[in-house]
């Protein structure tokens, strides 16, 4: 497994953590994707592919010829992957949570730009929808970081992870909110608007329509990096006890798969509304209570 931040202020350990993430996250992420496909298949009454299937797929994609609409697509995809990796490294090095979030936004913008660059209707609609997804989930992600700060008095992931505080008890609303936007980020139904892991998508493959071969492989690897980061945030809620945290990650991911297979895709309007509603109610109310308690209990 990925080494999650151990008690650090020591830069050497941060660097080691970051490098471990960089090297191992694709394998962990790929495995998660493999298990995901298997579980999904079982839910649908199929046998499903081998657990290692995602690795075979990506390996094969790398063997294909690099076909593009415009050569700049290569640049955008590479930047997407590089900044995804960099943002995740920053997270696992124990860096500033907000900076990590902004770095992830930066990386996503590169994917969106890559889709825009090809000037095709399918990727164009995919790109617009991807942007709508970004504005849908970003408020909740920022509120998550702010909530963790309010509990632990630090934006630094290392300090949050090692605070020893059962953050989940203070932020139950924020946690549920985070799980809901996690559905968007994992590209799970009902929010898999811009591109989907399933075969049924009304805009072909959406944001990834015009990527093929090695470029598509890089996008897939970037997804794996992202999985590990996203589940790392789940870990932070339970950072006081690594075993409970791992259990929480497993349960959370299983829930996501279950939702994916039981709820049909919604339109962007409902995606935006529900994500904002969740952030505006669960998120803000939870933080408001914390603000109030902070004022009352520790004046």
């Amino acid at each position: 497994m990925i080494s999650l931040p151990v008690p650090v202020i020591d830069p050497a350990i941060s660097v080691v953590n970051a490098i471990i993430y960089l090297l191992l996250a694709p394998f962990v992420g790929g495995l998660i994707a493999g298990i995901d496909r298997r579980v999904t298949a079982r839910m649908q009454g199929r046998v499903g592919p081998p657990i290692l299937q995602p690795f075979y797929d990506v390996g094969k994609l790398f063997e294909k010829e690099n076909i593009v609409v415009t050569t700049t697509q290569n640049f955008y995809v590479l930047s997407y992957l590089v900044f995804m990796g960099a943002a995740g490294m920053l997270f696992f090095a124990g860096g500033d949570m907000l900076l990590v979030i902004f770095a992830f936004t930066l990386s996503h913008i590169f994917l969106v730009l890559g889709a825009y660059a090809s000037f095709s209707p399918y990727s164009h609609v995919g790109a617009e929808r991807e942007l709508i997804q970004i504005i849908a989930y970003e408020p909740m992600i920022i509120l998550t970081a702010v909530g963790m700060y309010m509990v632990t008095q630090s934006f630094f992931v290392s300090a949050i992870a090692n605070s020893g505080i059962p953050i989940i008890l203070y932020l139950p609303g924020v946690f549920i909110g985070y799980l809901i936007v996690l559905t968007i980020k994992l590209r799970k139904s009902p929010f898999d608007l811009s591109t989907s892991h399933h075969a049924h998508q009304e805009i072909v493959k959406g944001v990834t329509t015009d990527f093929s071969g090695p470029n598509l492989a890089k996008i897939e690897i970037a997804h794996w990096y992202e999985y590990v980061f996203l589940l790392g945030v789940v870990y932070l809620f339970f950072g006081f006890n690594p075993l409970i945290a791992l259990a929480a990650i497993v349960v959370a991911y299983f829930l996501e798969i279950l939702i994916d297979n039981t709820i049909s895709r919604v339109k962007w309007q409902l995606t935006l509304r529900s994500a904002w509603l969740v952030a505006g109610t669960l998120g803000i109310v939870n933080l408001g209570v914390l603000f109030y308690l902070k004022g009352v209990l520790a004046p």
Partner: protein, 649 residues
Amino acid sequence: MIDFHLNYGGQFVQISQLLLFLILFPVVTALFMLFARRGSERCWIVRISAIAIGGAVIVLLLSAFDKGFVSYQIGSEQIGQLMFVIEMLLAVYILYLGVKHRKSFTIALILVQAALLLVFEGGLISGIHPVNSLFVDQFSLIMAIIIGIIGSLICVYALGYMDTYHHHHAEIKDRRRLFFSVLFLFLAAMFGLVFSNNLVWIFFFWEITTICSFLLIGYSQTPEATNNAFLALSMNLLGGVAFLGAMIYLAVMDPSGKLFALDSLIHSGYGVAIVPAVLISFAGITKAALMPFSSWLLGAMVAPTPVSALLHSSTMVKAGVYMIVRFAPVLSGTTEGLIIALVGGVTFLLASGMAISQDNAKRVLAYSTIANLGLIVACAGIGTFNLMWVAILLILFHAIAKSLMFLCVGTVEHRIGSRNIEDMAGLIVRMPKIAVMMFIGIAGMFLAPFGMVISKWAAIEAFVNAPFGLIFIAILAFGGSLTVFFWSKWMGKIISVTHLREVVENSVVKEKWAVLYILTGLVIVVALIFPLISSVLIEPFVMNIYGMTTRLSQANLTIMIMMLGLLMIMPFSMLFYRTGSRQVPPYMGGRPMVSDTKFSGSMGVTRQITLSNYYLENYFGEERLFMTGVTLCWGLLLLAGILLAGVIL
């Protein structure tokens, strides 16, 4: 560099001379502009003046950055009388224009203002002793850099732009002598505003900026331009009336006139300073075009683009937020301050939303300006020490990126004949250099690790510990994500490769290129050296006022510089991809592609692919959000007014 052993007296004279030079030299240039008949004369005067102003600002920065707050006594009795005479003459001029164009609201406002001014100058000012009227501190220095460098770059750019402008618009009367004259007058007024420590002087320069913007907005003399110019004038005169109200209140409260010095007013505490602080903040809100007064800044779009660039980046709106940030220590922790911050916050959120629904590039930029000014005011209204730090940083970053964006849009508009974002599709092929500059400018507005995101980030971290901070964190979280949407889709538009392949940027003159290159460089350089700017200028300033200051985390700085480095290296990866990828047309659902952007439709018709961005009118439609904002903000301002009446009585 600075020699600390120098005689301080000698140093001070030098700095005060620089301050006077910066205020008076643009006035002299303005006078010359009025009489420069030939285009070549104008070009040379503008270029030389721009260099002189920019140079003087840099000399001022080098000689004053470590001095903190220094003020100078200038014989203010006679100058005050001169200013009064000029103000009355301007009032008569506005009255004449108001009658000529039948603008009853403007007439009413100018009459009220003139009456108040007469009361103030005639009855109240007599007891007021001259104060140290000129001053400079780190915040003034930052403002001076923005005005002196960005402002004069815009003036140089305007030379080439106005040539093309009159070439394209033959029907508009060529009044370039007046135009350039007013541009430099504007710069002079802005310098005066940020270097004045005497409220009477500040008010004078405040009014001059109002008149300058009025003249520039109405430049083309079309009915639309005239109407919008009067709209801007009326709203700013309303602010001017509030400003005068603050001065009269102070004169009545403290006839000794000590409180007319900005520095002593700010340090005089809640009881004395809150009324003028709120009144002047109201004036600031009108000038900074926050809701409910945002319409004047949108109307100002009729003016030639350099005017928009000037209004949005280095002058006018920045004067509004400058004053509010100055009063932040007074507003901090008060209900009135919270209300003003809320006006800013509501403006930030709604203006960011409205920008999504716009396809006119200049309107998108305008809404983005309004949103950022709202954020600055939100920071200043809450006014804790780290929010003051954020506010100043925002002013700086915004000025650079926004001026670059306006000048890029202006250049594009002249080449492709449209300022619609939809028409900018494929700009990366048609105007590659401009497109890259726009790309960097947009990145500067919303992407890590550039300026505006640094500020947004610092703002979130600062609001967490501020009273009522949660409201503003929510506003930032939602509003911030909206900005991501409208900037990204614009970026996507310019980088998509369409059927339009003709390069049209070759006819752009060298002068414009030079200005654009410098501004693009500044966006990147300032993102790199902002820690230096912060430690040399902003932190000492905040320290001086609050006794504590924001410190940047070294670890985060290192990471951001690494990110910036990575971002600058990435484009080189394109060199590797020159060869080795096979190019094919995009996927069109199985329809055969005729060329790479055409496909064969049904019945054998060849069709061109056209793509359009989302504008989400039903959610972020201008009218609906505007009405919401105006109602909310008027409500808030009314509430502030009631509170203020309570304090006065």
